[in-house]
């Protein structure tokens, strides 16, 4: 917990860090640091935004995060919101030194939000807009009943990630897919379903707007965290720290960026890549990269053989009862990483036909990229799409090397 004297010191440090960041060329939104207790920080983490609407799935996420924190399994020090001004929420039990590191880290994020091209089309007033959404949903609950609205949200949330991120950049319908199908599944259903009531369409449009807002964060996790880690290291080292603070800083920094054996830590991967580039091409190159790249292009363009070997990256796969390394060639590592981050890591699904067999049935198409869909989830998701579309829903995908179409007709699922 911060003492009064610490608060003054923190004010000073924040000022120093802010000045230093500006001198180094960082260009961020005005910062609003907000201290809050762990329950609040974890609820913001679970909802993604302090003002977001209520839903049991957020409660579930909150419970999981909070109990991990209570059991000392993981800790969130801060949460930062892509908005102007930029809100950063800090845990009120952080020490002074922790707060210094976090402020520096958050300045990196704020600069990234402001300058990275992927964020160009995001609504910087989303904090307020989400509050409006939440009020609307609350009003619907009162009018149509809580269970009714919740059940509808369940269905909408099931397809919320099937948006077309390009609509952010003024392409109202996104880009047409080469086969003429439409990537904006949730938007399409919201507009074209013949069975939805107005309030239901409104909810789908809200979910879509929220997803479009969150989308760039999913596309740039490695870069964004790498960039923020790069800056917290640089900026904090320029502060005058006491010996004990130096030790504490080293510990905390290690905790944040340490590679976890067997996994990819985006903080570490991003930081290592940026440092590598800086050594070769100088710091100006980093500023350009933070402006134009997303994780996919960043990895494709900058993950070199040397780096992959340095970091000991490999591809592993489940074989019988163990996970076994199947490759450590840089190209395979890259391919796998890119695949896992393409389309936010979600299956690529488009609307191909909305009047199948002339009966107004919906045909969804999964663009197969080598990974099969989880059948059990398809079985549970299609009925929810049916709830939104009101008529039979077909999903075309690949399974076992063959084209498979799952159909849900309101009663049962066949394939």
């Amino acid at each position: 917990m911060l003492l009064e004297s610490d608060t003054q010191q923190l004010e000073q440090s924040v000022e120093q860090l802010t000045d230093a960041a500006i001198q180094h060329g960082l260009d961020f939104f005005p910062m609003r640091y907000q201290f809050c207790p762990s329950e609040v920080l974890y609820s913001i983490g679970a909802y993604g935004m302090p003002t977001r609407f209520s839903h049991w799935s957020f409660g579930k996420a909150y419970h999981r995060m909070k109990s991990e924190y209570d059991h000392g399994l993981s800790k969130i020090y801060e949460l930062v919101i892509n908005s102007n001004p930029c809100y950063a929420f800090l845990l009120d039990s952080n020490t002074l030194l922790q707060n210094k590191l976090i402020v520096a880290h958050v300045l990196g994020h704020s600069d990234f939000f402001k300058n990275n091209a992927m964020f160009g089309g995001t609504d910087r007033n989303m904090v307020d807009r989400m509050a409006v959404f939440a009020n609307r949903i609350e009003a619907f609950s009162q009018e149509y009943g809580m269970d009714e609205v919740e059940a509808f949200l369940d269905a909408g949330i099931a397809i919320q990630e099937h948006v077309d991120p390009y609509v952010r950049f003024g392409h109202v319908d996104g880009f047409r897919e080469t086969d003429g199908s439409i990537k904006d599944v949730i938007g399409y259903i919201a507009t074209h379903s013949r069975y939805l009531e107005e309030w239901q369409r409104e909810i789908l449009h809200m979910l879509r707007a929220e997803m479009l807002y969150f989308w760039p964060q999913m596309e740039t996790k490695i870069m964004n965290e790498g960039w923020a880690s790069y800056w917290h290291l640089k900026l904090v080292r320029e502060l005058e720290l006491s010996d004990s603070e130096i030790v504490e800083f080293a510990k905390m920094n290690a905790g944040v960026i340490q590679p976890t054996p067997g996994r990819i830590n985006p903080y570490y991967l991003g930081l290592m890549m940026l440092r590598h580039i800086e050594r070769k091409e100088g710091i100006e190159a980093l500023f350009e990269i933070r402006e134009v790249e997303s994780d996919v292009s960043f990895i494709r363009n900058y993950l070199t053989r040397e780096l992959a070997e340095d970091m000991d990256l490999f591809v592993y796969q489940k074989q019988q009862q163990v996970y076994r390394v199947t490759a450590n060639d840089v190209n395979e590592v890259k391919e796998q990483l890119i695949r896992s981050r393409t389309n936010g890591g979600f299956p690529y699904i488009t609307v191909r036909d909305d009047d199948l067999h002339g009966r107004g049935e919906l045909l969804l198409h999964n663009r197969f990229d080598g990974m099969e869909l989880d059948r059990k989830y398809v079985e549970r998701t299609l009925p929810l799409v049916f709830k939104l579309w009101g008529r039979s829903v077909h999903l075309e995908t690949m399974a076992g090397g063959k084209t498979v179409t799952y159909v849900y007709d309101g009663k049962q699922l066949v394939s």
Binding site: T7, V14, P30, R32, Y33, Q34, F35, C36, E39, V40, Y42, S43, G45, G48, S54, W56, G59, K60, Y62, S74, K75, Y77, L79, V80, P85, I157, A158, I159, E161, Q217, M218, K221, T260, P261, G262, R263, I264, N265, Y267, D312, L313, F314, V315, Y316, Q317, V322, Y323, T326, A327, N328, Q336, S340, F346, M371, E372, L373, D374, Y377, T381, L395
Partner: protein, 419 residues
């Protein structure tokens, strides 16, 4: 807009309870989901062999948010080693739910909504007691017959009085102190005394102990004999309700592991349920082939015997037992008989007669016939015979799979039975 480059604020967040509220909503949904899965759960092996309040984990698939997702468990993933990892190295054990897959880093993270690869299902934790509460929610005691004789009395004691005489070990310290204060306050001497109002350690009576070296703080004088109060008790008699379960089972060769398992699950829940309603629940195990005898629990559920089946034997034994030990006037008796239905034909009329007699002596009589579908045939003899009993206190249940245990419980203790 305020354009200062930074502001540090400490708002009051005490009203921000959204997370808690939605968490409650989620908990309610978990409960509902468990309720829907009760049929599976009550016959879960890990539950019916419990020690105390152990926590069980209940997988609930329906609470994992549905979405289109990859089947990632077998797909290749990227990992990071500590150097020198070679192709062919083993980096982890597959533990069924693909959890060693790459997730977000453990340090911070959590900026995105819903990015982590989910676990296959949501696991709720609950104790056996919590589960029992859910199982028993809709169960009621059927057909309580009024007991003519006064139910068993039990002696108990209750400390409910305070007196001036009593045993030293029963001194009521608080009241003693209070009396001392009261007396001295009345006498006007409750100030400037010699020592603090402290009882000595060990619970002895510090009557009149002087306190020469204590400071002159505000103070209670000596406690004298008249102040001392003793707690005393009264004998109480309270009626005790008790129930007897007569667990009867065919243990002939045709009753296999599955059949015994089903019976065991049922009796587990039945006894547990009755314990919530009666202070004492006794369970007696009667096994029979052609002869019936009382056995212990272990033998009842585990030992099989060979030979034919004569069901009347066990009904006879039950009747004898009731006559000798559990007169219906003072006991609530529940009898349940499990069999695979394969009874000696010539024994059926006798079984029927005895079952009818037994029915008059007990609160309820149940008959569960366990038939695994895979057997393909079933004799159904006893089933058809007992069907003719046609009494509201007789329940017949057919158990073909584990899930039917719950159905049987409901049939036995459900609403229609309790009406």
């Amino acid at each position: 807009m305020d354009n200062r480059s930074f502001i540090i604020a400490r708002d009051d967040w005490s009203l921000h309870r959204k997370g808690e509220i939605d968490q409650e909503r989620h908990k309610r949904k978990v409960k509902e989901a468990i309720r829907e899965n009760l049929a599976d759960l009550v016959s879960e092996e890990s539950i019916i062999m419990p020690q105390g309040d152990k926590i069980i984990k209940v997988p609930i698939r329906s609470l994992d948010e549905p979405r289109f997702r990859y089947n990632t468990s077998d797909e290749p993933q990227v990992g990071q080693g500590q150097g020198g990892t070679q192709v062919g190295d083993v980096v982890g054990q597959a533990d069924g739910n693909g959890q060693s897959a790459a997730g977000t880093g453990p340090g911070k993270g959590g900026r995105e909504a819903g990015e982590q690869p989910g676990i296959d299902y949501y696991e709720a934790e609950l104790t056996v007691d919590e589960l029992a509460e859910l199982v028993f929610e809709d169960l009621k005691l059927p057909h309580l017959k009024p007991k003519t004789a006064q139910e068993m009395l039990v002696d108990d004691i209750r400390f409910n009085d305070v007196r001036k005489q009593g045993m030293v070990s029963n001194i009521d310290k608080r009241r003693t102190l209070f009396e001392a204060i009261k007396r001295q306050a009345l006498g006007g001497s409750l100030h400037g005394g010699a020592y603090p109002a402290a009882m000595q350690q060990g619970g002895g009576i510090p009557v009149g102990i002087p306190g020469p070296d204590t400071a002159p703080a505000p103070v209670l004088g000596p406690i004298i004999g008249d102040d001392v109060r003793y707690k005393t008790w009264e004998d109480i008699h309270k009626p005790q309700s008790s129930a007897v379960v007569l667990a009867m089972m065919d243990t002939s060769g045709s009753m296999g592991t599955f059949e015994k398992y089903i019976a065991r699950s049922f009796f587990f829940w039945m006894v547990r349920f009755l314990r919530t309603r009666y202070e004492n629940v006794n369970i007696r195990f009667l096994a029979h082939t052609t002869e019936a005898k009382e056995v212990d629990e272990e033998a009842f559920f585990h030992k099989g015997e060979s030979g034919g089946t004569r069901c009347s034997s066990v009904y006879e034994l039950a009747l004898q037992m009731i006559e000798k030990e559990y007169p219906p006037s003072s006991f609530n008796t529940y009898a349940f008989h499990f069999s695979d239905g394969d009874n000696l034909s010539s024994d059926n009329p006798e079984t029927m007669r005895l079952a009818r007699t037994l029915l008059e002596q007990v609160n309820m009589l149940g008959y569960g016939e366990i038939r695994q579908r895979t057997y393909g045939y079933s004799s159904k003899q006893l089933w058809d015979v007992l069907k003719r009993l046609e009494s509201p206190t007789f329940v017949q249940a057919l158990l073909e799979q584990k899930e039917d245990v719950f159905k049987t419980l409901k049939a036995f203790f459900g609403d229609e039975m309790a009406s």
